[in-house]
Amino acid sequence: MKNSTLGGLAVLFFLLAAASLSADLKVGEKAPDFTGVDANGQSHTLSSYQGKIVVLEWLNHECPFVQKHYNSGHMQKLQKTYTAKGIIWFSIISSAPGKQGYCTPEQARVLTKEKDAAPTAVILDPEGKIGRLYDAKVTPHMFIIDQNGVLVYNGGIDNIRSTNIEDIPKAINYVEQALEEILAGQEVSVKTSQPYGCTVKY
């Protein structure tokens, strides 16, 4: 009798703990919906891409961690490879006006061209609404949403925290790994990692 009461209490404790966490963004649950306007003035709503895999990449071209992945051409390569496979890739700029990395639509278009970047769209989020909805902490902070609209990855681009281009070939790229697994119909093996980079300049 005493034992079953304790068991009940333990279950109750667990439920309370789970409830208090559900306010946070959780991998394995529905990704929060958003609508954002891109550098060409086009509007994108996440839920309208249901049935497709969506990558969210937080971007600030003045950040040395972002430059590591763009100056090496590695980020552009990922964008080209996976958009060619039907994946939707949004680069999101959440820098506030006057803060590092902020872009007007025109500046964003110029930078995208200069860097030879190839995302589906560069979404401008100067008020930081999408960034805060996803609790994007750094650039590049990466998220992957699967065909069912479920968040399946939240974390860094890879496992070597540095600004050194030479580390890219040595690193495990978690985004590439997760996308390959989803495309192969497998479960994502690494669902979270500590994102590294510059703080998002909200």
Partner: protein
């Protein structure tokens, strides 16, 4: 756009300057030698501790030392917390002194002058961040005689030593569940330590949620520090390391830092 925009590396003049300062005027064969590394950081900018926290990069020191001279230990001063938009980081502003304990082999011939080099790599941040590096060299004589202290810097060393953590030699333990990491410790009463303004700097990366408040409790002579687990938690380490900063004698500002190395026990709940 700012002047530094688009730059991948910091350009001259660098925002961080390095200076090697010997604690004694020469090195003695077969003895330990204290060599201080002073980093002076441009006002308004900061660099990072060995665990940078949620943003930034660890500052690293790479040494070029002559044969017979080896680095035994590098002691980092207590860092401070930087809260930048969403991220809490650990680092230094203005100036920091790091102590290198060198071991001088008895084989090192007296009468020679040896060159010691340190190259420091860092990420320096204000609103934006720049990776950079700086270096310092020193030529020091080796003599078989008691080395006098470097008196000109006596006050500098005294102040720097107060900021170095000393190993905590009292009972500690730590446990973690899905919610939190809890560290239990029991400093001896004669230390007269107080929790007012206490803080903890964890050395392990990716375990705790840096932005959440540290929860301190005192029950009898035992202290409990609770740290919220990171939402994207990596595997737990076998040992939790960090620096604990406590007040001494209830006088605000009179702080004492201790380094902790505590085996971590994982508690699995339902």
């Amino acid at each position: 756009m700012k002047a530094e925009s688009g730059l991948f590396q910091e350009t001259e003049p660098s925002r961080v300057k390095a200076e090697l300062i010997p604690e004694r005027l020469w090195m003695e064969p077969g003895k330990l030698f204290n060599l201080w590394l002073r980093l002076t950081i441009e006002p308004g900018w900061h660099i990072y501790w060995k665990n940078p926290g949620e943003s930034g990069l660890p500052t690293t020191v790479s040494w070029s030392l002559p044969p017979g001279v080896s680095l035994l230990e590098l002691s980092w001063a207590v860092p401070e917390k930087f809260v930048d938009s969403l991220a809490t980081s650990y680092g230094y502003k203005d100036q920091v002194l790091i102590l290198a304990t060198l071991s001088i082999s008895p084989e090192v011939p007296a009468g020679s002058a040896l060159r010691l080099d340190a190259e420091i790599s860092y990420l320096v941040c204000r609103e934006g961040c720049l990776p950079g590096s700086c270096s310092s060299s020193l030529a020091l004589e080796v003599k078989k005689a008691a080395a006098p202290e470097n008196k000109a810097y006596r006050h500098v060393f005294f102040a720097a030593r107060l900021k170095l953590p000393e190993a905590a030699r009292w009972p500690t333990s730590a446990e973690a569940d899905q919610e939190a990491v809890r560290i239990f410790f029991q400093p001896p009463a004669e230390q007269d330590l107080d929790l007012l303004g206490a803080s903890f700097f964890i050395e392990n990366e990716g375990i705790i949620d840096y932005g959440s408040a540290e929860k301190w409790e005192k029950a009898a002579s035992r202290y409990v520090l609770s740290l919220k687990r990171a939402p994207v938690s990596t595997e737990l380490p076998a040992v939790i390391k960090g620096v604990l900063v406590l007040n001494r004698g209830s006088n605000q500002g009179n702080i004492k830092a201790f380094s902790l190395e505590v085996p971590l026990k994982e508690i699995k709940r339902l």
